[in-house]
Amino acid sequence: GESVGLHLPTLSVQEGDNSIINCAYSNSASDYFIWYKQESGKGPQFIIDIRSNMDKRQGQRVTVLLNKTVKHLSLQIAATQPGDSAVYFCAGAYSGAGSYQLTFGKGTKLSVIP
């Protein structure tokens, strides 16, 4: 079945530097991926998504890269700020029973050093 995992459980970066959070997936049938940010005591917040027919998508200060050959995606955060400190989850989706069901990775805790 689908499994989505992260390479690193924790990441510390200096304020102003760029952050890169990695994620690997196993199911080649996955056709949609989402990155979520979860701050302490809150629900996951949608950051950015990408479909399998794309290899890059950019948002505000964030970029998601998808490499289908090696089943890997990454989230890049430019000019990391203290407010970016949170746990980041990648999630993979596949069409099942007429709806997209998400499988979440373990999460990476990003700590920004002021």
Binding site: K42, P44, A97, S99, Y100, K106
Partner: protein, 115 residues
């Protein structure tokens, strides 16, 4: 995206009791889901809440333990029945269908502690 609220935000319960968690959305949505997030862990899908029919449960979750209702397109409840300390988790609802059926948006979660 839709505004999602959950009640209660947190609760402390005695083992053997049941708790019903409510999820309210400010607009009609196609899909509603319930997840569990154990302390320090990732999210695990419990079930898909279907309007007008029985929920679709994932492997390892059963209706007797986690009965779910979805009477309309903006509201759902999850009950955690006959609770034990192992049920201590954050329970999250999510919705999809506005603006697309693909992207899921999450509520703030209900933090449950079972003593």
């Amino acid at each position: 995206s839709a505004v999602i609220s959950q009640k209660p935000s947190r609760d402390i319960c005695q083992r053997g009791t049941s708790l019903t968690i409510q999820c309210q959305v400010d607009s009609q949505v196609t899909m509603m889901f319930w997840y569990r997030q154990q302390p320090g862990q990732s999210l695990t899908l419990i079930a898909t809440a279907n309007q007008g029919s029985e929920a679709t449960y994932e492997s390892g979750f059963v209706i007797d333990k986690f009965p779910i209702s979805r009477p309309n397109l903006t509201f759902s409840t999850l009950t955690v029945s006959n609770m034990s300390p192992e049920d201590s988790s954050i329970y999250l609802c999510s919705v999809a269908g506005t603006p697309s059926t693909d992207t899921q948006y999450f509520g703030p979660g209900t933090r449950l502690t079972v003593l």
